[in-house]
Symmetry: C2
Subunit: 748 residues, 2 copies
């Protein structure tokens, strides 16, 4: 014990001297050299050609959950993992997965038109004609229905759009709404529409957003053609993702299930996605006021709001069956800390062929697994246990990962150190989002991987892209130098159960931004599309494997887990500042708006012929007590600084490995400390109090979600209460960081 | 003389006491009451029905300069003025007005297409079929030409667009460019294209800008239909407007004329305007990179930049004849100050039928003239002389007003107090731009005229519109209360020769913003269009006559001319601040850009497949000496405050009318003092140093143009020189204001 102190004390001085040139996080200098050798050997096993071949073969047929090729894929993946030396099993869940038995959409008035509701096969796309195995375009977890009503165009169908409609005196109660994709996650659109009283919801892909407005359409270019439809889930995932019938527990065969009619995440109105060629006659038949200019899409018509004269009928019925979901789970046991798990995953199911989504990312993960297996065969043993997963049923709502995480919650609680996710991948720039304790590690790794096209590091390329294309604040930070920030994670892929339900530090990584990405959730997300428009040569598959592999290798082998808590504290401080500014700006805007209404400004500015109605006066916004958050933040900042200082010293000097087990457990407890068992207001499944998907944005993240959403929803009492909760959470985090520091530096 | 002092001194004290409630500018309280009675009598003569009838009859046939109905219109206008008691003459100039003898546009590659180049007659539009008298779609002052070349899409064709093209390695030298209308005055587009080496220029109306992207198209709605074409002049008006052959002198029969080949304002490449239905096959045939997203218009295609494979041939030939332009000039002699002239004008020529442009404004001006004539017949005599003008040949480039102003420059120099212009008018909000010494007057008048739709004053409606639709700075100012700012004037209508060539304080007024304005310069600018989509009921014609009539009446009758100079000084201070911030931001942006280029940020951020080229390094921006401007401004501010204080006192107490003639001359000299005989760099015709149309924006104003454009063009020596000139101009203005004050308050 005494020796420990001496080491740490000595090390502190050394660290101060060496701080100009930080070494490899988690490693002493000589260990870092070995690690770099290992990474070079890892790289030697990666092959772009092989990644391409996996993309081709795993996208050769449609492979949604419950499909024959989905099962074949899972089995083939398991075989591959096994062949590379991984201890592998397929874990099966029984999940609710409705598929359509009736889809019909007609324009009844002012003239008859029946929507085609199909994507056509293309000679230039070899798999587009696999009609028998393709799921038709539909939205999973829409309810059955047969509704006829006048149509209203609601733009993206987000809450702000309905405020615009209300100002124009347009009420969607009893109407069918048509919303374009984009602006939020799709499931928000029917949820808000139903809250407003609509009886049906049509979603369509406007060509301005992912069709000819973005670039040449498939097969000439990569963007969505006139017949292209975006499939997708519309379950209320911000309430909880995963199987709608088994919230909170793994959907094993014997699990208790809600009756279908009690499943809270199904929609309450029928929802159907269509192409713009089907949407065009509907939109052209709308009368009423001209839509506000930002609502105009790319179709050659004047976008009107309605309601009517367009009247439509939607008929939808589904087969509400349970299907098996096959999660492929592969392990390499840790030699030193077998109970500290580093998890890595990507889903394997697709809406149709899914060459980009998910096979491009899956192929990179496979490349990593193969290379790690080869290192293992050659004698390398990870200090910590590796778990590689290929999830099924991500597309309908993260079912494979959620059910697995729920089922294994208990063993993961004390063991899972980090979960690293990927999904789609293409030519372009590294995207990395996740837990901010991992920000320095991600930056180091990104600085060590070369960009295939420019030869610069993928970090420098991401920095350049942020400077040139980013928003003002991000641009400024990137230009300053220093670490690039991790994006906070909302939802949209399989990290959600790990990060937001179990409080496991998580990352989501991938490349993108230079593909022609207009085939999302369509039959045209195919091998022919991928090889021409997403990553010809598959070099970004290799780059992703290099980033993912290095993250895994360093997390697995580092004597001290490469986490830092100052970036976490500083990032949360930014969020705290944001929510305070949000409260202030809401207060000011409310006061301004109320004054304008009282002074009749709107009545004078609006065209009397347009029938506008001034917005209603709103309750003034009180000043809130943010002190609990501020005080907790200050303490977290202090503790984080203390830990980061000690750990740098210890890394430089070499850790006392006898404390490695305790240290690992203490470190993984930090992210857990950001959660509360009772979860967020009205959605207990989401327990993380720093990151959550937005209740009204879906995939879009809300940071400090309890506080932020209460302010956005003008729930002032709840906001104050949530400030208090956030303060407690940050105090708990400060305590957790302090416990880890005490283990590293017990004599202090 | 002594008495004068005593009055002024007493009055000063009274003014301080009364300043909370300012009276009618220029009038003592009891005079103001009489003036309000006069205005009520004026209003009683206005008739919406009659305005509608004038709009119908003056737009009954095409009436461009040189046309039979143009001549008839001038004669009929003269008769009307005479019938109302105005001393009226038609003044005739001989002006260059080319009309097309050959217009042909073909797509040669990749497939053949011949543009239609015609607007079709519509059954719903009674005058659209008057084919024999219509000018076909063309751009006046395009040169003759026959060119064939690959096509390049240049967005709006403004300088910034060519910077974007250069970054993508696209050179327009030897190419034909196609630019959409909008983003600047049309004449800028061929001018910049030619500077960049293009050999031809096609202009088209994109449906996003004034077609179905804005609202329903004619005849269902008021916006531009697929066949609609915008005619218009492309002479280099920022160099000088008016007859291209007689710069600086009136184009009388005997005037000396430049030979055609020496006329500096003709284009140097052929230019042709087309409809979107003609443009669509050309744009669809373009290859090359996808245009940047803000360049995308409303057509259902992917906008590419080219060059080629689209190759086009343009053939244009014109009859370069001189035609007579008929200016109708009507006077009511002033009773007390016949040598102080208040001028009011609107053009009467149109591109085709021109119900909106110009007849809607002309009809309101006629209504004023009729009412003033009736007051005159009933015994009212204006103190100052009124001159009402109906200009010919505005459309090809302000020819009627420019030639008249040039010819009468000398008599106007010592006499013209204010010129008030109108042009198109429609339902909506009052627009007022002009000399800032008139800002308080315009606000007072606008506060006294009721909006036809809401019953509020047109001032309060304009304020509300600014608050709801305006840019941040304008919004903030409007919300504070106080006077609404006058917009500074660039060009685009007949105020230009008066304001910017002769230094006569000017205004431009009209209503708009609630019409469906997509018929600009087309055969569809017709009676049928106007009565349905622009001002059904013609109530805004009455409102314009009320505003214009009050301005004229108060300027004509006020014992002291109702000018104030603090608003001028404060406005110029804002412009001075803007140009300094422009220099600073240009310096910072240049430094940032140079650093990014040096660090290779662009090379890393841009897609290597897109063939981008990093921009060239730019010379760093030096710090400029703005002290001459600042010092002069401070002096102008002091003198303006002194004048405004004295004049308020004098107004309240009653002026010594024996000094009225001197005072009028002194006051009109203030706006003249903002000019310099040598004019702006490279364009001596424009002599005003506070307001000018932009050399590269055309209609768009540049305030402190000498300084601002030198900074924009990165001519640092010229910028410093122009700061010095601007300082001298403002010193001269301070002196002129001081002379006026000394006349009002000679003993001080």
């Amino acid at each position: 014990m005494r020796r420990g102190i001496a080491v740490a004390t000595f090390a502190l001085a050394a660290a101060v001297a060496a701080s100009a040139e930080p070494g490899m996080l988690g490693f002493a200098p000589e260990q870092a050299t070995q690690q770099r050798d290992l990474e070079a050997r890892f790289d030697a096993h990666l092959s772009a050609e092989e990644i391409g071949e996996w993309i081709r073969t795993f996208s050769a047929r449609p492979h949604h959950v419950g499909s024959p090729f989905g099962r074949e894929s899972a089995e083939r993946l398991a075989e591959l993992f096994r062949s590379w030396g991984w201890e592998t099993e397929i874990e099966t869940f029984q999940v609710l997965f409705p598929t359509p038995t009736l889809r019909r959409l007609e324009l009844l008035e002012p003239e008859a038109f029946t929507a085609r509701l199909e994507e056509g096969a293309l000679p230039a796309d070899a798999t587009s004609g696999q009609r028998d195995e393709q799921l038709p375009p539909y939205n999973a977890y829409s309810i059955d229905g047969d509704v006829s009503a006048p149509l209203v165009y609601v733009n993206y169908g987000v809450p702000g759009d309905y405020e615009e409609l209300e100002r124009r005196g347009i009420d969607v109660a009893g109407k069918i709404v048509i919303a374009r994709y984009g602006g939020s996650w799709r499931g928000i659109k029917p949820k808000v529409a139903a809250e407003k009283g609509a009886v049906g919801c049509i979603l369509y892909s406007d060509p301005r957003d992912d069709g000819f407005g973005q670039g040449d359409v498939y097969p000439q270019g990569g963007f969505r053609p006139s017949q292209g439809v975006q499939r997708g889930s519309v379950a209320d995932m911000p309430l909880f993702p995963g199987d709608p019938l088994t919230p909170g527990v793994g959907a094993t065969e014997e699990a208790e299930r809600l009756p279908l009619e009690a499943a809270p995440t199904l929609t309450t109105i029928p929802v159907l996605p269509i192409s713009w060629s089907d949407a065009r006659p509907l939109l052209a038949a709308l009368g009423g006021p001209v839509a506000p200019e930002p609502w105009h899409g790319g179709l050659p018509l004047t976008y009107h709001l309605g309601p009517g004269p367009a009247t439509v009928r939607m008929q939808l019925a589904f087969d509400w069956q349970l299907v098996p979901a096959y999660d492929v789970i592969a392990r390499l046991e840790g030699s030193q800390y077998p109970d500290q798990w580093i998890l890595r995953g990507n889903h394997h199911d697709a809406w149709v062929n899914g060459a980009t989504d998910p096979v491009s990312g899956l192929a990179a993960v496979l490349a990593e697994a193969k290379a790690l297996g080869a290192l293992h065969v050659a004698g390398w043993r990870p200090r910590r246990t590796l778990v590689y997963a290929a999830w099924d049923a991500e597309e309908p709502g993260l079912l494979g990962s959620v059910e697995w995480a729920e089922r294994h919650a208990e063993e993961l609680a004390g063991r899972a150190v980090v979960y690293i996710n990927s999904d789609s991948n293409s030519r372009g720039f590294l995207f990395a989002g996740g837990s901010h304790a991992l920000e320095p590690l991600v930056n180091q790794v990104a600085g060590d991987v070369g960009d295939p096209q420019t030869g610069a590091s993928v970090l420098e390329r991401a920095r350049a892209a942020t400077i040139v294309y980013g928003e003002a604040e991000a641009r400024e930070r990137a230009e300053k130098g220093g670490d690039l920030p991790l994006a906070p994670l909302g939802s949209g892929s399989d990290y959600t159960p790990f990060l937001q339900h179990l409080g496991i530090a998580s990352l989501h990584i991938g490349f993108g931004g230079e593909g022609d990405y207009g085939q999302y959730h369509s039959i045209y997300d195919s091998w022919d599309h991928y090889r021409r428009f997403m990553d010809p040569g598959f070099h970004y598959g290799v780059a992703l494997a290099q980033v993912g592999g290095r993250l895994v290798l360093r997390l697995a082998d580092a004597p001290v887990l490469p986490l830092r808590f100052v970036p976490l504290a500083e990032t949360v401080a930014v969020y705290a500042d944001e929510v305070q500014r949000l409260a202030d700006s809401t207060r000011e805007e409310t006061a301004t708006e109320n004054r304008r209404i009282a002074e009749g400004v709107y009545s004078l500015a609006w065209d009397p012929e347009d029938g506008w109605a001034p917005p209603a006066l709103r309750e003034p916004v009180p000043h809130l007590n943010f002190a609990p958050l501020e005080n907790a933040l200050e303490r977290l900042q202090e503790r984080a600084e203390a830990y980061d200082e000690v750990v740098s010293a210890v890394e430089a000097a070499g850790v006392d490995e006898s404390r490695g087990g305790d240290l690992g457990r203490a470190l993984l407890a930090v992210e857990r400390s950001l959660t509360r068992p009772e979860g967020l207001p009205r959605r207990p499944w989401f327990v993380h109090h720093v990151y959550a998907p937005g209740f009204y944005t879906g995939y879009g993240v809300k940071t400090l979600p309890g506080v932020r959403e209460a302010i956005e929803q003008r729930e002032w009492e709840e906001a104050e209460e949530q400030v208090r909760v956030a303060g407690e959470v940050l105090h708990a985090a400060a305590d957790a960081v302090e416990r880890a520091r005490a283990i590293l530096d017990p004599g202090s």
